[in-house]
Symmetry: C2
Subunit: 233 residues, 2 copies
DNA sequence: GCCCGGGTTTGCGCTAGCGCAAATCCCGGA
DNA sequence: TCCGGGATTTGCGCTAGCGCAAACCCGGGC
């Protein structure tokens, strides 16, 4: 494992405003690793030996119920920390991290966290802000699940994905990683059948365009309308 | 506002293992306040001027949707910090804190947080652990809402309440604060009608006993069975 | 170029649970 | 003690969306 170049992480959220020397110190304790698409970085309930930063790729964070149902907690994008719930008290990962595409990550041993946090307060702050944001966002999802119906939830999920991972194309905004109907279903608490029906309907209306593992939003505005209004035409 | 006695908070989670002097310093920046049942300690979207510790009572944390639906995020019990998402980056409260009964709270100005956290690392740690726990728990609720059906969700909610606020009575375990069918509905994403029907059915089977704003669990074991098994007899 | 397998679409029937409405109950105040 | 209003219960009809099943489509490996 070669020595890591600080340009990898300079300017990324968690390491914002660290001096070059500080960056080197932070990197000194990290190792980098590649994971192939569909491999997991860590598994639910496994002992939390490391925490991670995603350098490149896209990671799906999944929980599995005792019944075997899967629920996607969130997608992680470039520059985001993940596996950090572990850094805060937890000794075990609460979910599985699956690579939606080939990924490059940095990993720090869990023990390093307290030390880094103490030495670089802005790093600690950023971590906590991240966790705070996720709590916030997760609570919004609870509210959604409790009050909106499937159509609205799916619309919201697609909009969120586009915002997080939208790539501009001539057609519209395309989600830049492969995502199946099943995935959307697991994000919104419904079935792939229902998602498929909804996307088909929206495609007929020219709101989205979808293909195998691919979704492009043509008319975000009308999708927002769907996500807000109860019932639909 | 008289000076506060450190015995109020000695030994409480967040202030565990602080020296008497440290406790005094922490208390020096707090003020205590009483809130009547059904009054709010803070409102959603209001500016986060303070964070709080509940000394006595029970607080319902509620979010309201643009459509006017309410969702109960959680209940806060004695000795718990609340309104702290604000202490971590947020400048505004993400939810409303309503008193389910008369409450006594300690309040610190938001500005004091960074200072206290820096001076008393164990306080900071405890806060973060609390937030971590809540993230965890909130995610579990997302999973529940996505995969279980109402009967199971309501059973889980009741069990959780009993665990958190159960008082032993000759009848069984009684939830020690007034809680309506509507409240349970807002915790589980259903309607008061459905909750009422479920409780009635369970009462017929001798699993729970319920009255106006009151629920007593007679047979926790059978309730757990309901919460785990799909479909029911 | 052909075949295989996973992703997707679509039809169909069914039911969990919502929405509405009405009756009842019960606590607390006058 | 009587009364008003919120909490609860219960009936009834309806539909959103699930579950099952079958067909289809398409990309990649051989």
């Amino acid at each position: 494992m070669a020595s890591l170049d600080r340009s990898l992480i300079a300017g990324l959220g968690p390491f914002d405003s660290l001096t070059p020397e500080a960056l080197d110190q932070v990197l000194a304790r990290a190792r980098s690793a590649r994971y192939a698409k569909d491999s997991s970085v860590f598994e639910e309930n496994a002992e939390a030996h490391s925490f991670f930063l995603l350098l490149d790729g896209r990671i799906r964070v999944v929980r599995t119920t005792p019944h075997g149902d899967q629920v996607i907690a969130r997608y992680i994008g470039d520059g985001e920390l993940f596996g950090i719930a572990a850094a805060i008290g937890r000794t075990t990962y609460p979910a599985t991290a699956m690579c939606a595409v080939d990924c490059v990550v940095l990993a720090w041993p869990t023990e390093a966290w307290a030390d880094l946090a103490a030495r670089f307060p802005s790093f600690a702050g950023s971590t906590f802000r991240t966790i705070g944001n996720r709590l916030q966002e997760t609570q919004s999802r609870v509210v959604e699940m409790a009050t909106e119906q499937v159509g609205q939830r799916v619309a919201l999920a697609v909009l969120r994905l586009v915002r997080q991972a939208g790539r501009k194309t001539p057609e519209g905004l395309e989600i830049d990683f492969p995502i199946s109907r099943q995935d959307i279903a697991e994000m919104t608490g419904t079935t792939l059948h229902t998602v498929s029906r909804l996307l088909s309907a929206w495609e007929d209306e020219g709101i989205v365009k979808s293909a195998r593992q691919k979704i492009t939003v043509i008319d975000p505005h009308r999708l927002m309308v769907i996500s807000e209004h109860r019932a639909g035409a």
